[in-house]
Amino acid sequence: MVKRLMALLRGEELDRGLNAEVRFHIEMETEKNIKLGLSPADARLKALRSFGPMEKHKEETREARGVSWFENLIADLKFGARALFKHPGYALLAVLTLGLGIGANTAIFSVINGVLLKPLPYEHGDRLVVLQQSRPLSGQPNVGVAIAEYFDYRERAKDVFDGLVEYHQMNFDLINRGEPDRVNTGVVSHNFFDLLGIKPIIGRTFVQSDDVKGAEAVLLLSHTYWRTKFGGDPNIVGQVFEMNDRPHRVIGVLPNVPHYPQENDVYMPVLACPFRAASEGQIARNRRAFSALSVFGRVKEGTAPEQAASAVESICHTFTEDNKQIYRPETSGFRATTVPVRDALTSGAREMLLILLGITGLILLIACANVANLTLARMLGRDRELAMRAALGAGRGRLIRQLLTESTLLAVVGGAIGVAFAALTIGMLTTFVGRFTSRTGEIDLDPMVLVFTLGISVFTGLLFGTLPALGSRVDLVSALKQGGGQAGSGAGRKRMQGALIVAQVAVSVMLLVGAGLLLASFYRLQRVETGYRSEGVLSAQIFGNFSRYPNITELKKLYLPVIDRLQAQPGVNAVAITNAVPLGGGAPGTTRFEIEGRAVDDPERRPTTDVRVASPQYFAAIGVPVVAGRVFNDLDNEESQRVVVINKSMTKYWEGTDPIGSKIRPVGQGIPEDWYTVVGIVGDVRQFGLARETVAQLYLPLRQSPFGLAGQVLVRTAGDPTSFANLLRTTIYSVDPNQPVENVRTLDDLRSEALAAPRLTATLLGIFAALALLVTLAGIGGVIATSVQQRTKEFGLRMALGARRDGVLMMVVRQGLTLVVIGLVIGVIGALAAGRVLSSYLYQTAPRDPIIFIAVAAVFVVAGVVACLIPARRATTVDPLIALRAE
């Protein structure tokens, strides 16, 4: 094979060699003959004669080199290009259709490649795993790892891991040249970056001595933070910043690699985190102290991932058995396992991407079918040409190869257009997938994607080239005898065209049903009753840094004056502080609680609730209706009776009795054992997602809250809330000039953000389905048009014999509609079977929603009639006399 290729590349050189070799042979033979006594002329003649037919031998030698197929290919390509240039309309339509189909696939594949296929951009990324703990029996799929647990794993799993490292994220204020800057801080083991194989671009990463008590506090900067905040200052290493009331020295800058599990501005070793350091002292008394860690490990070379997972499982089993009163394994099912980091990172996007790939694959099939149909129609006019070539000695195989070369040529040009199309859309797609996975930084049209595109282009070319070739058994005699226009309208070809239309309709129906379902779901989601009024409300986060506001008592010195001063601003209707804004992200908390008189002994079986902290005007500010009793007022303070408000969903735990007046208490680590009286019931709020059913929620008054909280300010304004943003900031600065104000957003924005993913999904599929519909209708129209053209004479005859115009019209439309209906039936069956894959993306919409199916069918019948009518009208405008004279 290599020799053949080399021969191709060095064809001319080899020819020169062959000529020289033959010349040498003839000369030698001539000399021999001269020695035998012949005259030089005779000697040469005899030599030539005994050599035999020279050109034939040379040609055979060249063929033995394997060049001929290549030369044939070049000839086919030249011929194909000429043929296509002669029919620019056909070529353009085909290339554009294919470009769209291939482009959609290229774009989706580039995303799949970047998200699912590429190895993680870390050394040994394929061996990185994340440790996951859960309590499946008490409904907690994800439980953070505590320090003591991490130490257990680290000590006991040394034979399966190269190392285990911990990670958690904190928000600290970094005083950067006088201005407070709230930074996302990754708190990591000293060997975190070594384990991931990340080398700094400046300075160094952490070493063991950075992570001991009393060590100098050091920081690593992320590439992005270094570029945006310090302008890529090359002298950054050694600079000192104030953080948590201590000086921190920068020791290095990380390269521009995607961060996992979250993006961070800076990194610090674990003991530099005041919370983590303080908690480590408590682990002797409290095994679950600081259960907020993520733990990663690199599996040893040659160790199977399952081995690592089972080692972790058994270590977890041991410590839960040793501490039964803490873990209660029988009722919690507390367990641990490991998952490859790459899977954990992309699990949210995998299904969506595969669905999209399936959809674009279907689009490509439609494009293929359409171009195959175009090609079939065009072959009507080529029958004479093909027959002529066959008569001149081209074999059937040779003719098919010519057709395939042309179709592949078209497909490859289509592929090039597809790559351009993909390059244009890839940015939008990346934003889209970013809603399902954080791993989008490596999406690119890289060589792997281009190879894929080339592959599907060639495959596409062969596919749509083969179909017409099969349908066209060239009948030499009849093709040559007939005139060019009407040659060879064979039944085989018609059947093939019909089958292609049916297939296109079927696939388009499936896509349209999918798009319809998503749109219906989106419509319902958009109108879902959220339980609060988002319009006119501005939100912002003011999280007092722990160094200045170490506990709730201190935090209230920030929060309460902020409420008062904002309230005094003109145009403000209501102000509140809470711990999380609706649809602001996050998952519901699962704090266990106890109702007085309904005690449950096993703590694992106690009901759970999501605890919110709310200042008095919270419910008024976001318009949550009061169902019964009262909400908080200014009299619910530190000294007064402890009170709570619950939501409607929580009342189920009272089993029909009135909760108001009864007492409950949240239970758990660090929660004071106070009893709270239920004073009111409020409506349910879709706090964690529009499609997410409301969970039981419990509201504590801000002034009685035992917990600290990252304060979220909510301001309901009379006018446009965005115009209030500046006043909000200055008012907060008037209380504390060093307090960062973050995430200033309106609740409307948050809500629209929550709709972004389903909106994009529905839009994307809607565009694809519309494309499919358009291409299919064009296909139907095209087929009917050619058929009308072929039957001009017949129509003329019919009308001459008295057929009415609308009778002819009906005949043509019926022909097209039959195909549409067959395709429709197949498509509906396909959609019924395949609808399930969409079910997790649908909100209150059944995958077999009859209304959608009926609507799609109606659209297709109407569109099909229109697509047939346009060419069919031509049939009826035929002047019988002209039609009959046409031959």
């Binding site: 040498f24 030698m28 031998h57 033995a64």
Partner: protein, 109 residues
Amino acid sequence: MAKLDLLQGTLDLLILKTLALGAQHGWGISQRIQQISENVLRVNQGSLYPALQRLDTAGYIDSEWGASENNRQARFYRLTKKGERQLKEETAQWERMTVAVQRILETEA
């Protein structure tokens, strides 16, 4: 005696056998075949070259340019390891076939 036409496929075997004696250029191969077969076999000299190219593509022989006995540029062919194996195999096959044919011919009618 009339010269014999070469049986289909035997040319390759003869070339390999000739080259087993040492590297040689095209003309030399044709001379050697004629000499050894004592001018009984008639080889169309030109048909040697497609055969050489076939054997080269198959990897049985190799070639390089060098100086001929009268100091002219000539392309020399030589047997490769793969070619040696092929020669052995084809020789054995040839022998089996001639024995078989011989037996059929010797059978009394």
